[in-house]
């Protein structure tokens, strides 16, 4: 593993094209992608194995949705930083995600630059 990469990113989205888009977009040198999960349950299992420090989290997913997964991940690791990336752009949803422990919110659809800027903010904050 590259020692310069201090941040370990887990990407959680039920859409394969969204997972791959976030994976391709991410070009922050300090960030290493450690896993891709298709729902909240997979994310929790991958969290055990990969111990990510950063997570991008979709909200509407089968098996376990993003809000519940945010709550469980923050319960396991209060220092984890979670960027919710969702098309559910209403204020109530964003507030609920932040209340459960998410650190940021990005609306879908997004550009490569927007996802990188949001991840940089997450790291710097």
């Amino acid at each position: 593993m590259n020692a310069a990469r201090q941040h370990r990113l887990l990407i959680v989205d039920d859409s394969n094209i969204m997972r791959r888009k976030i994976e391709r977009s991410q070009d922050i040198p300090q960030v290493e992608i450690v896993g891709l999960a298709g729902n909240g349950l997979e994310a929790l299992a991958l969290h055990e194995q990969t111990r990510p420090t950063l997570v991008t989290m979709d909200l509407t997913m089968p098996e376990m949705d993003g809000i519940e997964c945010v709550e469980q991940l923050v319960g396991r690791d209060p220092d984890i930083r979670i960027l919710v990336i969702s098309a559910l752009a209403d204020k109530a949803t964003a507030i609920e995600a932040l209340e459960k422990g998410a650190s940021g919110f990005l609306c879908k659809p997004f550009t490569e630059r927007q996802v990188n800027d949001a991840l940089v903010k997450l790291i710097e904050n």
């Binding site: 094209i17 509407t60 559910l88 209403d90 997004f110």
Partner: protein
Amino acid sequence: MSLQSEIGTFVAAVLNYFDTAVQQPAVVGTPYLALGKAPEVFDYTGMIRISGKRKGVVYFTAPKGMLSVMLMRMQETDMSDANLRDLVGEVANTLSGNARKDFGRNFIISTPSVVAGSSTTIGYSPDTRPIVVPIDWRAYHANLVVCLN
């Protein structure tokens, strides 16, 4: 909120998807009422169902060729059925997101679903009149259909 502005919410969602995710704008044609026969369904359709203050269905239906080129524009190399379904699902997801943002709690919006096949029938209540909004992009043609009572 008028029906016109409700339709505007869905049109804005689709146009924003092309602008932002595909990074090439689409053009909206003249909307029309589908009277006498059901609106045309293309190869892949992403839809949301709405209940509450209004009831009905809203869907984006597009041909495989259009979705494949959209995926290429998004740097995706895998044009599998799963990814084409994912793409219309993501468009439907933005329809849902915009509706929740603009309409609030008066509308209950289902999780987006996807169907494949141009012979698919999309069920809607007989007391509704589907409004078809043509969406043109490059040489391709898709439809946004808003069918609310």
